[in-house]
């Protein structure tokens, strides 16, 4: 298809919106009518045509607007992008991975021409064209990680692997579900996940780490995660929580359909060839409740999942106070009929 990029905002007037195309391909995260943490990993080797799984780095109608929002966040707070000194090589690995993937997967949008270490990159949607020397930082306007991730949707954690652990030693984080890169940078896998309830006791992180340490080059993996956000606010950062937190209290029975968003993260994991690091992109997809319930299966299932979610998870995910109002709204879309297995929609919007 020919990509149309939305004119939209993720702050103040919140003009973000999903087309029917974007709703149909939304990564609904619940494969059954209940939810609990699991090591829900699978291989990231494409997926159904047009789905968000199809390409290595999905580009959608929100691309240009998301990159504008990222630039604003970084201008306000440069600490959202940091790389410890030993991580520069991993940044080049990441730049190569994204440029090669995007130019192969979206040849109409991105071009990469390589002649030895002389590289020529063209990003048509953002109007960027640069010639640079691979592995020479002085030839790019930013460090390699920052350069390419200012042009790629999703947050990026670049992890060093040593001592049988993964270390959050670099990243760009502007669309996060309320965690701080500036605070967590330098932590290992168990430390940065320390605040997550229930999952440690279930052994989730021990098993997940074991899986991730063994990810091989050319064999990426993926999983979905989710939370709730009021308004289509990408930058739900702890840094700005004192500014956006109050928006959670602005939900009413009248506006909940359009102001309450399900926030889904497509998390992928790629081994990096030179550094042996692991890159962990966290791509955020937002959908308003009123759009989500247009898919009957999703409306039914979301009601059941939210209703039965343990209090600890609803609290950690930050919507315990609004849960009763969510259930009042969602129950209207749950007729008690059974739902089919898996995440895919039971009908498509035309």
């Amino acid at each position: 298809m020919i990509m149309q990029f939305n004119e939209e905002t993720f702050r103040e007037d919140y003009t973000f919106h999903n087309s029917d195309w974007a709703i149909n391909r939304f990564p609904f995260p619940f494969h059954e009518d209940s939810y609990m943490y699991a090591v829900n990993m699978e291989q990231h080797r494409g997926g159904p045509e047009g789905s968000i799984y199809e390409k290595r780095f999905d580009v959608d109608e929100h691309y240009v607007a998301e990159m504008k929002d990222r630039a604003m966040v970084l201008s306000d707070d440069p600490l959202r992008c940091q790389s410890l000194p030993h991580m520069t090589l991993a940044g080049w690995d990441l730049l190569e991975l994204i440029m090669v993937s995007k130019s192969e997967d979206y040849p109409d949008l991105f071009e990469l021409h390589r002649n030895g270490d002389k590289w020529h990159w063209i990003n048509k949607p953002l109007g960027i064209e640069d010639h640079f020397t691979f592995l020479d930082e002085t030839t790019l306007p930013y460090g390699p990680m920052e350069y390419i991730t200012r042009q790629t949707q999703g947050d990026f954690c670049v992890l060093d692997q040593r001592d049988d652990n993964l270390w959050m030693d670099a990243g760009i984080v502007t669309t996060q579900a309320d965690w701080s890169l500036d605070f967590d940078i330098g932590m290992n896998f168990f430390e940065w996940h320390a605040p997550v309830p229930l999952a440690h006791e279930k052994g989730i992180f021990v098993r997940a780490l074991k899986f991730l340490l063994n990810i091989q080059q050319g064999a990426p993996a993926r999983r979905l995660n989710w939370t709730m956000t009021v308004n289509p606010l990408l930058d739900t950062s702890p840094e700005n929580y004192h500014k956006w937190g109050v928006q959670k209290t602005e939900i009413t029975p009248e506006n909940i359909g359009r102001k309450q968003y399900l926030r889904v993260e497509l998390q992928t994991f790629f081994r990096l060839p030179r550094s042996n690091g692991l890159v962990f992109p966290i791509r955020c997809y937002l959908i308003a409740f009123e759009d989500l319930v247009k898919i009957p299966k999703w409306g039914r299932r979301l009601h059941r999942v939210i209703r039965d979610l343990p209090v600890e998870l609803a609290t950690y995910k930050g919507f315990i106070d609004n849960r009763p109002m969510m259930l009042d709204y969602l129950s209207e879309f749950d007729d008690g009929e059974p739902t089919s297995d898996g995440i895919w929609p039971d009908r498509h919007l035309e």
């Binding site: 701080s180 330098g186 702890p238 929580y241």
Partner: protein
Amino acid sequence: MSKFNFPESIMSRPVYGTLEPRSGKAHLMVADAQGAEAIIGLSKADSGLLSKTHIIYIPKGTGDTYTGKLEKLGAAQLYVGPSYEAAKTRLQRTLAGAHMGLQVYLSGTEGLMGQAMLEATNAGIPHTAIQTEHRGSVARRMQCVHCKGITEDVMTDPFVCSHCGLSLFVRDHYSRRLAAFQGVCIDAEDPGNVPASVELYK
């Protein structure tokens, strides 16, 4: 004794032990306030240890309660400084000149141990190779996640950020790189509704 048993917490929160003498030709002990008791304990456990030891000590409100006792230990070097900030460059210089195998012992408040550990890890010593023993106050060194300012010696939850003035709740989430716990605005979702402060661990 001034030891406090911290309740079990999340995995980023530091866990402290009991200092034990290790073999080695050079030893560095950094302590504040009641942390001196742990150093005195080490000297009793191994009478030959202190002659190979550099002690950096900050009395921090304990006056000369411990300084006389430390002077009698026969340390190779004993420095008594007025504040951690004042002692920091000496600590950095000592670590820069250290040889492989230096044994590091930290004791006292969490803020002191965290900051000294950061200097030691910056000098290339793995954090897992550094011994720690908590003594004295349970006050915490807190970073405001909003303005990034550090507030030292926080004793209550919530507390007021000494930089931006927001009321912050005290998390157990801890960063070794910042040597600080995280403080987060407590009334973001209900501005002005700040619960009464309670003393930590009371």
